[in-house]
């Protein structure tokens, strides 16, 4: 695998299950058994009710584009502008930061609310990143 130039995450003990699942191409999020709801980013406890009994559950990988921006100047090493930074709201509720891929980065092609689904970027031997692309149903 060619050397990956962009920043990669360093998993911490409370986020390791998320990144382990990404490596399996599964989107797994922490779930609070008290609130009966997913949350993100991962913590050892629920940030809403402070319950420490957390489960990990696999999500559908489907959601809607909550917001986006087209970055015309590289904000991080390894990125070639223009690129689309986006926040996706998963069908299960939580929001994730990501890159929108599979679409030309131009304002007319992208809109808040458009349906999206996860695609996987195997960045390194250890890290796979969840990117999102427009869902087939939206094309």
């Amino acid at each position: 695998m060619a050397e990956y130039q962009k920043p990669v995450p360093y998993p911490s003990p409370e986020t390791q299950p998320f990144w382990d699942a990404c490596k399996r191409h599964e989107l797994s999020l922490p779930y609070c058994t008290n609130c009966s709801a997913f949350f993100f980013y991962p913590r050892q406890f629920c940030p809403t009710c402070f319950n420490w009994n957390i489960e990990w559950r696999t999500c559908s990988g489907k959601g809607a584009l909550y917001t986006f921006a087209i970055q015309y100047r590289p904000q991080m090493p390894g990125f070639t502008p223009p690129y689309v930074t986006a926040i996706v709201q998963l069908d299960e509720g939580p929001r994730l930061m990501t890159n929108l891929v599979g679409v030309e980065p131009a304002p007319e092609n992208i809109r808040c609310g458009m349906p999206v689904e996860v695609v996987w970027e195997d960045a390194t031997d250890e890290i796979t990143l969840p990117f999102f692309k427009p869902s087939q149903s939206s094309q």
């Binding site: 962009k6 980013y41 909550y66 917001t67 921006a69 087209i70 100047r73 223009p82 986006a86 808040c112």
Partner: protein, 386 residues
């Protein structure tokens, strides 16, 4: 317990030069601004017994006090980004009111522009690879204000129909104030069409939606009520104050169209007991056009989502009925990185009637709100003169 009328700002000034100042370090700027503000107040350095600052290393006030030769009885290094120095005023008011100190010096200094070209090791202490933003934002090329404020603005545009033209209105009105301010960095005429045809930085932001990057320093002096009444200048009373934060990075932002100004503003207005309509001059953080727009909404000057229409038709420009960012703002005046000190100084100067061509007639009440981080932390002050 309220801090209303317990303290006043009695000195406020900047470094001799702002803008492009390659021959000064941040510490030099802190010191020069401190000298100028103390001279403005007519108070000797030997009387300063409390120092509030941040942004110069991990122990900012300790460093600064060594540099200035001050042995403080009270210090505070609260670091909430650009809102820090406005929040320091509240902290100084609390400390003075508690009898822990008498003369509080709040200083700022940054070489946001010239520092880029300096050699030597960069301060790397900020970065922790296990932080949520490092794990869940940076791998996607998200980092720093343009990449994040743009996404917040886009959501606001989606939810409320805010337009690029409405954002451009703010840049143009702010430039008109700058044209009345000899110290402002950007003073060329600017039209809405100029803004809309300028290059993208991060869609939906054009370059004129984004603040400057400059070198500048500033300082203010805060004392208790009794001392304030003895000063040569009219005391600028702290009538109300508030601070709040809701998140660090976008990942933790409860709602991308809301900022903690809704909390700090509410607290400040309640403490001051004044209405929004009574405010004569409004100084808010304009790291981007959007920052000013959303802050006006969150402070309650208009209904949520109506910031765009509210600030249209050059309402915030000179001669408009909503004078805002009268020094020319971070968009056209100066923005060294943590801009909050300069909205504070401008508000004080307006209340002193020292603003020359850009003076808002008979300004008696000012609302100051500074934003820090990524729409993360805000401080609000209501200031007034008798």
């Amino acid at each position: 317990m309220t801090l209303k009328n317990k303290v006043a700002i009695v000195g406020a000034d900047e470094t001799d030069r702002i803008g492009i100042v390659p021959d000064m370090t941040p510490l030099m700027m802190h010191a020069e601004a401190a000298r100028n503000a103390l001279r403005d107040a007519g108070i000797d350095k030997s009387e300063v017994d409390a120092v509030f600052t941040c942004g110069i290393g991990g122990m900012a006030s300790v460093q600064l006090c060594e540099y200035l030769g001050i042995i403080p009885m009270y210090t505070d290094n609260t670091m909430t980004g650009g809102s820090s120095f406005v929040i320091h005023v509240e902290h100084a008011a609390a400390a003075i009111n508690a009898g822990l100190c008498n003369v509080a010096l709040i200083t700022h200094g940054e070489t946001g522009l010239s520092g880029r070209n300096r050699r030597g090791p960069r301060g790397g202490g900020f970065f922790d690879a296990t932080l949520p933003s490092a794990q869940f934002e940076m791998p996607f090329g998200v980092g720093g204000p343009p990449s994040t404020y743009s996404m917040a603005a886009m959501r606001h545009m989606h939810e409320y129909g805010t337009t690029s033209e409405q954002l451009a209105e703010i840049a143009v009105a702010t430039r008109k104030w700058a044209q009345l301010n000899p110290r402002a960095m950007m003073r060329d005429p600017l039209s809405i069409e100029d803004v809309l045809s300028s290059r993208w930085i991060a869609y939906p932001f054009h370059i004129y939606d984004c603040c400057l990057v400059t070198d500048a320093g500033g300082a203010v002096v805060v004392v208790g009520a009794d001392r304030a009444r003895e000063m040569a200048k009219k005391p600028v009373w702290v009538l109300g104050s508030g601070e709040a934060s809701t998140h660090q990075s976008l990942l933790g932002m409860p709602d991308l169209t809301q900022t903690p100004a809704r909390y700090s503003g509410k607290a400040a207005f309640e403490m001051a007991g004044v209405t929004h309509a009574a405010i004569d001059v409004v100084e808010v953080y304009d790291s981007f056009t959007y920052t000013a727009l959303v802050t006006i909404e969150e402070l309650g000057f208009c209904a949520k989502g109506e910031g765009g229409p509210f600030l249209s038709n050059q309402r915030s420009a000179p001669g408009g009925d909503f004078p805002m960012n009268t020094n020319g703002g971070g968009l056209s005046y100066t923005h060294p990185g943590m801009y909050g000190m300069f909205i504070l100084i401008e508000a004080v100067r307006q209340l002193w009637g020292e603003c020359g061509d850009r003076q808002v007639p008979d300004a008696k009440l000012a609302c100051v709100n500074a934003t820090g981080g990524l729409l993360s932390a805000t401080g609000t002050l209501i200031l007034g003169v008798d």
